[in-house]
Amino acid sequence: MGSGFEISAEDIRVFLDEAEELLQTMEGGILRLETDAGDPEVIQEIFRAAHTLKGSSATLGHQRMAELTHAMENVLDRLRKGKLTVTTELADTLFSCLDVLKALKDEIASGEPASVDTAEVMRRLAAFDQSGQPGAQRAPEPAAAVSPQMPPLTPAQEAQVKGAPARGMQAYWAEIRLAEDAAMPAVRAFQALLAVGDVGETVLSVPTQEQVEADQIDGELKVLFLTKETPERVRQILEQVPEIAIRTLAPYSSAAPVAAAEVAAASQAAAAHEAAAPQATAANQAPAPQAGARAAANGENGQAARSTKTGLRTVRVDVEVLDNLMNTVGELVIERTRLQQVLSRLEAEREGDDMAQVMSSALAQIGRLTGNLQEEIQRARMLPVDNLFRKFPRMMRDVAQKAGKEIQFVMKGEETELDRSVIEEIGDPLMHLLRNAVDHGIEPPAERLAAGKPAAGTVILEAYHEENHIIISVRDDGRGVDPDKVRASAVRKGLLSEEAARRLPDPEAVNLIWTPGFSTADKVSDISGRGVGLDVVQKNIEKINGSVEIHSKVGEGTEFRVKLPLTLAIIRALQVDLLGTTYCIPLGSVVETDRIPTADIRTVRQREVIVKRGEVIPLLRLAQVFQLERPEGAEEPEEIFVVIVAVMGRQIGLVVDTLVGEGDVVIKPLGRFIGEIPGISGATIMGDGDVAIILDVPSLVSSVQEEAGRLEAAVR
C-alpha cells in the first residue's frame, strides 16, 4: 500500500477483527439513531466506536481512516451535545462514512489501495460540523444541562479552566488505571497526583487528593489539570510512576466522557459550598453522591475484571479445526461400534468372563464420552444467527429507500443458534427473500393508505427452534401473492398451458413462483429482479438439507418459511431397506410412514397413486427408479411400505421394502469419482460399519413432477 506499516500480520488481523466489530456497532447505532430520535445512549455508543476506531487506525498509521473517524467524532460530539439533531440527511452521511471506512478496512486487509475518496464524505461531514451555533466557545451551563456527561465544574473551576489559555496553559484530561496487583494503589495514585502537580495545576481529580490520602481508591484515577507542558512531556513524567497505566491523556473539552456521578463525588465538597449558587450542578441532584460514586466505580471495576477474564477464556479457532474434530469424532463412534461387536462375540463365546465384563463397562464409558465429545464439538460450531442478521437492517433501509417504500423492519430471535456452516450458506437466500419482500411484497405508501393499511409496511425476520430444526421466517404485511396473477404470468412465459394453469389449485399456482424463469414483477427492478430467481433461492436452501415454503394471502401479506437443519454434518434420518441395502431418508422431509395393501394402489395416467385423506399421492418405487434387480421369482407382497415425503407441499410416496429405524447419521460425500447422482445426496456409515446411501428427496419429488409435466405435454 506504500504507507509502509511496521506492523505485524497478527496486529493487522486483530485490528481488522476489531474494526469489523466497531463498524457493525456504528451501523447498528446509526440505524437506531433514526428510529429512536437521538437517544443519548445510542449516540454515545456510536461515538465510542468511532473514537476507538480512530485510536487503533492511528496506531496502525492509517491516516485517512484516522482523519475520517476524527471528523465523524466531531459531528457525533455536536449531536451528543444537542447542537445537531438527527435528520435523514445526517444518517445518510454517516452511512456513507461507514461505506468509506469499510472500503478503507478492505484496503488494509488486501493491501490493494481502495478506490474511495474520503474528501467527499469529509466535506459532507464538515457541513454538519459548521452548521448550528457558530463560534468555538462553549456556553457552559446550558450545555451541561443537555449533556449529563459534562463534568459539573464549579464556577471557580470553570473559570480556572477558561483562564488557562491566558496564562499560556492548556487543560488536559487524564485517566490512569492502577495495576490490579499493585500492593499500594493509594500510594501510586498519590504519586501520580504529585507528578501532575509538578508539571501544572490540578483542577479536580476523581478521587480527590483527600480521598487518596484516606486510601479511598478504586483502581482508577482521573485528573483534570492545566499545564504549559506538551502532552508527551506529561506522559513521560507520569510514566515514571510505577504500577500505573495511562489510558487517556487528551486535551480537555467539556465533553470528556466522565460519568456525572463520579465527578459529583469529587466535587461534592465544592458543591456543598456552591449549593446556594444559581447554577444547578449534577452534584445537587445526585443523592448520596459519595456512596453512588463508589458503587458506580465498583461496578465498573467489576465489569472490567470480568471482561479481562472472558478475554482469557475464549480462543479463536479455525473452522477447519472444528471440521476435523467433527470428522474424527465421527470415526471414533464407528470404531466404538466395531469394538461393541467384538464384545458381543466375546460374551457369547466366553460367558461370564471377567475380561469381557471389564471391556463391557469400559465400552459403555467410551460410548458416553464420545457422545459428550460430539455434543461439545457441535456446540462449538454453533453461532447465534445475530452474526448474520445484523447486516440486514442497513440493507433493508437502502432497499426501501431505493424502491420508494416505507418499511418497518423487525428482527426477532437473533440469539437462536445455528451451525456456522449453515449460517454461511443461508445468508444469500435470506437476503434475496428480504429484498423480495420489500420489492414485491410491500406496496408503495399511497397504495397502502388506499387499502386502509398504515403507510409503512412491516417486514419481520424471525428465527426460532421447532423440534430438530431452525425456522427462519420472512414475513410482510404487503399485497400477498395473487394466484391469478401468477397463473397469467406463467402462461405468458410459456411455463405451462392456459388449460393446465386453470386447473391448478390456488396453493399450487402460488408455488409456480419457484419455477426457473419466473418473476411476478411487472417491471424488473434493480433490487430483486436481477435474473436470480426464487428457484435459485430454493436450490441453495435445499443444498443444505433445508426447505422453503410460501404462505400468502392476497391483500394481507406473505410469509416465507425457511426450515433448516441444526447442523450440516449430521442429520436425523429414517432408515429403510431396499433389496438388502440400507437407505436413509432425511427426517425433515418425511411426513409419515404407512403400510398400504397392494390392492389399494390405483393408477392415474399410468402412474401408481394412493389416496390418503382424500389426497392423491403419486407413488415412486425406489427399486424401479434405481433400476435394482429383484431376485428371480420374487412375488409382489400383499402390502407395501410407503414413506410419504413432502417438498414444498408436494407429497409423494416412496415405496420401500421395510422400515429399519431412525437415527442421527453423519453425511459423507460419495467422492469425485462417483460424482453427483440424481436422487442421492451422499452416504453415511452405519453403526455396524456398513455404508448406507442418503436419498435426495427434493430431486426425487421434482423428478415425479417433471414426468407429470412430460405426460401433460404429450397429451397436448
Binding site: Q627, L670, G671, I677, I685, I693
Partner: protein, 159 residues
C-alpha cells in the same frame, strides 16, 4: 508428451503385482495406497456398470470398481483370495477389486516394452507397457487414467 514422461518415470519404480483373469497386472506402488480384504460393498444406484458401490475404509466412504469389468475382462466369482487394492489419484481414493495380490516387484525401465500396436484401443489407453519380471509378463496399468472418470460430469442418465 506428458504421458511419455509419466511412462518413463513409472516404469523405473516398484510395482504391486496382482492377478486378473489368470494374467498378471502391475501398478505403480506410489499410486496404490494399500490392499484390504474384500468387504461388503454397498451398491450405489445410477452409476456405470463397473462401479460396484462404496465401502467404509476407516470412516471414509470410497468407491470400489470391478477392475475386470473396467478392463473388459470376463466376470468371475469372488474367492478367498479376492482383494481390494486402494489407489489414490489427486487425493481421491478408489478401490479396485482384483483376483489376488501377488507381490511387490522391482522393474527396471529396460525390461518394459511399450504397449503393442496389436492391443485393443481400450488396452492401449489404460496400459503403460508390458514388463518382464522373471518369466512372468506383467501388464502395467495406468491408474491415473483408470481411476479418473472422464464422464464424471455427466452421470448415467436415469432410465
Amino acid at each position: 508428451m506428458l504421458i511419455q514422461e509419466q511412462r518413463e518415470q513409472q516404469a523405473i519404480s516398484q510395482i504391486v503385482v496382482f492377478r486378473l483373469a489368470g494374467e498378471y497386472y502391475g501398478a505403480d506402488i506410489a499410486v496404490v495406497r494399500e490392499v484390504v480384504p474384500l468387504q461388503r460393498v454397498t451398491p450405489v444406484p445410477r452409476t456405470p456398470e463397473y462401479v460396484m458401490g462404496v465401502i467404509n475404509l476407516r470412516g471414509r466412504v470410497i468407491p470400489v470398481i470391478d477392475l475386470r469389468q473396467r478392463l473388459g475382462l470376463p466376470e468371475a466369482q469372488m474367492t478367498k483370495a479376492t482383494r481390494i487394492a486402494v489407489g489414490e489419484v489427486d487425493g481421491d481414493q478408489v478401490g479396485m477389486i482384483v483376483d489376488a495380490v501377488e507381490e511387490v516387484a522391482r522393474v527396471s525401465s529396460d525390461a518394459v516394452e511399450p504397449p503393442s500396436a496389436l492391443m485393443a484401443q481400450l488396452d492401449r489407453d489404460n496400459v503403460l507397457g508390458v514388463a518382464k519380471v522373471g518369466d512372468r509378463l506383467i501388464t502395467l496399468l495406468d491408474l491415473r487414467r483408470i481411476l479418473v472418470r472422464e464422464d464424471r460430469r455427466s452421470p448415467v442418465a436415469p432410465q
